[in-house]
């Protein structure tokens, strides 16, 4: 054989071998890629959330729907999402009166009289699914994590229940599920959004105050929301990279 043909055969053999090896490796890798099992690709999405304060009527549908969809304990100190009511006297905006009776589960009884010179509004709260999440940073074992599509989740089979993440969240959105003794919080209805549905809270919100957004989708309405409104995140000084954007958020909100 001439050198050319030998070289050719050597190269061809090498490439065939590599392709075969790559195919085997690819299969092995795919076998361990559960998130790509159906046609949902985590890398196609970057989930965020938008809340328009001026539209929230404090009906509590979101709170009830979340507890129903996710089986959250019904006691008044376990919430994946809740609604707060703020009553701000303009002469003392640093000290608003805030209440959240059973998280807003049963709505809000009228407590204030109209025309007393103050302003009131509702603020729905939930996990901010921070891009630089402090709760994920402190987890000692990797039981809480941020998925590739931007949702902060808890691995209930791995969590020790040390509660460090609950201490580290500046927004108070985590709790320890007393039935599983593991940390728990809003999962952005991951089991729904990965199947093309929306979250339970957005599904039932009657005024459209709540919106799920996918920042990687150029056609998603959240881009218009972010452009057309003055938006804020909670506690921006903590630099958590929160992805829950509020429009119309008053400065008195904690």
């Amino acid at each position: 054989m001439t050198t050319d043909r030998r070289e050719f055969l050597a190269h061809a053999g090498k490439y065939l071998l590599l392709t075969g090896a790559a195919a085997v490796a690819f299969d092995k890798v795919m076998a361990g890629r559960p998130a790509e099992a159906d046609n949902y690709r985590t890398t196609d999405h970057w989930w965020a959330y938008a809340i328009d304060i001026e539209k929230c009527i404090g009906c509590g549908s979101c709170v009830r729907a979340c507890k129903a969809e996710n089986g959250v304990p019904l006691e008044p100190f376990y919430f994946r999402t809740w609604v707060e009511r703020y009553h701000v006297r303009p002469e003392d905006s640093l000290h608003p009166e805030v209440d959240s009776p059973n998280g807003g589960y049963d709505g809000f009884r009228e407590l204030y009289a109209a025309g007393d010179g103050s302003k009131s509004f509702f603020v729905p709260k939930m996990c901010n699914h921070c891009a630089d999440s402090p709760c994920e940073q402190v987890c000692p074992v990797g039981a809480t994590f941020r998925s590739p599509d931007g949702v902060v989740l808890v691995d209930k089979k791995y969590c020790l229940g040390c509660r460090y993440c609950i201490q580290a969240c500046p927004y108070g959105c985590r709790f320890l599920d007393p039935r599983t003794n593991t940390a728990d919080k809003c999962t952005l209805c991951y089991h729904r959004i990965t199947k093309g549905k929306t979250t339970a809270c957005v599904e039932v919100c009657p005024t459209g105050a709540r919106q799920l957004g996918d920042l990687k989708n150029p056609k998603d309405p959240i881009h218009a929301f972010l452009k057309d409104n003055k938006v804020q995140v909670l506690k921006p000084q903590m630099a958590t990279g929160a992805k829950l954007y509020y429009a119309g958020l008053d400065g008195s909100v904690r």
Partner: protein, 395 residues
């Protein structure tokens, strides 16, 4: 979890229940005693403060007894203690808690146990050769079957032991500094979040450790009918005073800084200290636990008093110190959870009695190290004129 009526003002709904309980107060207290006792031991070994030599071995054994108990309150507190080994399997490198697992292991194995072993080797081998039956097997195992205790070997031990103690000092700093960092690095909690936290924790640990050993030294001497070396007591008390002066200054600095800067959390925290934490912080920690012992210890530095009086002052000061440092841990851990992160409200913590995280297990866990220490003292007597395992002295 508290019924909703125990909330005053507004708290985020998930904040009403305290996450870290009495057991998590106990844990930094215990590791603090470890670090403090070890620092006292290193005063003798590394800084050659001869007067405190009588407490050297006692300090090490005290440190070991408490270090062995330290993980227990954590295990009782976890939602899934059976998964705690995951911290060693898949430690999250950004988590102070995970890294602490390795610091603990390092300190236990490579520093404390090794140092104790090297210092006691001669007596262990002696006890091996002189015992019979199960005691013989025990001491042989402790010696790792090596019986070289000639002069040269002991010189090797001395050199290696000294190196270990030198490494041990920053390790002890790391051990308890890390616990402080676990709290101090939580930006979400303004009561905890300060770069001073590891340092304050460390110095209060040193204070509590020295106080513990001082007390134990006088107690064990009294129980075993040995005369108390007053030069030792005076010197240890003096070091307690110095450590306390530094600790107090640091905490005062933190307080002044908070009051001066008066950031958004100040009003809420100030109110909390003056109401919910009044007894534990103002009365227990500051007045009874810091100012009084500081005053007493400072007094005997400048005024001449009788031996009896000095012993009494040392005892009382140590007891007050130990109570005060416990109060400090309580104020940090529990205090950090009594106020809302909205700065608009407070909750209450009621200690239960016979539950998994109640008063009863806490008391038992505090008593356990003394039981272990008693065993260790029997196994490895601290003062060289005694023989191990209570064999009669040869005159």
């Amino acid at each position: 979890m508290p019924p909703v009526e125990q909330i005053s003002g507004f708290m985020y709904p998930n904040e009403m229940e305290l996450q870290w309980s009495l057991l998590i107060v106990l844990y930094p207290y215990i590791t603090g005693l470890v670090a403090g006792a070890f620092i006292l031991a290193s005063l003798a070994r590394v800084f050659n403060v001869a007067a405190v030599k009588p407490t050297y071995r006692l300090s090490l054994l005290t440190a070991l007894a408490f270090l062995l108990v330290a993980p227990l309150p954590l295990q009782l507190h976890l939602g899934h203690p059976e998964r705690s080994f995951e911290m060693y399997l898949t430690p999250h490198r950004t988590s102070a808690m995970a890294m602490f697992g390795f610091v603990y292991l390092w300190y236990l194995m490579a520093v404390l146990v090794l140092e104790i072993w090297l210092d006691y080797r001669r007596e262990i081998v002696e006890a091996w050769k002189e015992s019979k039956g199960i005691k013989r097997v025990l001491y042989r195992a402790l010696a790792l079957g090596a019986d070289n205790v000639d002069e040269e070997s002991l010189r090797v031990d001395e050199r290696v032991g000294r190196v270990i103690t030198i490494i041990g000092i920053p390790s002890a700093f790391l051990l308890h500094g890390y616990v402080g960092f676990i709290f101090g690095s939580i930006k979400a909690n303004p009561w905890w979040s300060t770069p001073m936290m590891p340092i304050v924790f460390l110095f209060s640990a040193i204070v509590s450790g020295i106080a513990a050993v001082l007390l134990l030294y006088m107690l064990v001497s009294w129980l075993s009918d040995r005369p108390v070396d007053m030069a030792c007591v005076d010197t240890v008390a003096r070091y307690l005073f110095y450590a306390f002066a530094i600790d107090f200054s640091l905490e005062l600095l933190d307080l002044v800084h908070r009051i001066y800067e008066a950031d958004e959390s100040f009003r809420s925290l100030d109110f909390m200290v003056k109401t919910k934490l009044f007894t534990s912080q103002i009365v227990m920690q500051i007045i009874l636990g810091t100012l009084l012992p500081l005053g007493l210890l400072g007094l005997i530095q400048v005024v001449r008093v009788s031996e009896q009086a000095r012993k009494a002052i040392a005892t009382v000061s140590s007891l007050l110190t130990l109570a005060g440092i416990f109060a400090m841990r309580w104020n940090v851990v529990i205090g950090g959870q009594l106020f809302s992160k909205s700065f608009l409200g407070y909750t209450t913590y009621k200690v239960q009695f016979a539950t998994r995280e109640g008063l009863l297990p806490a008391v038992l866990l505090l008593l356990l190290p003394f039981g272990i220490l008693w065993l260790l003292l029997k196994l490895l007597p601290p003062w060289k004129d005694e023989h191990p395992a209570g064999l009669p002295e040869v005159i």
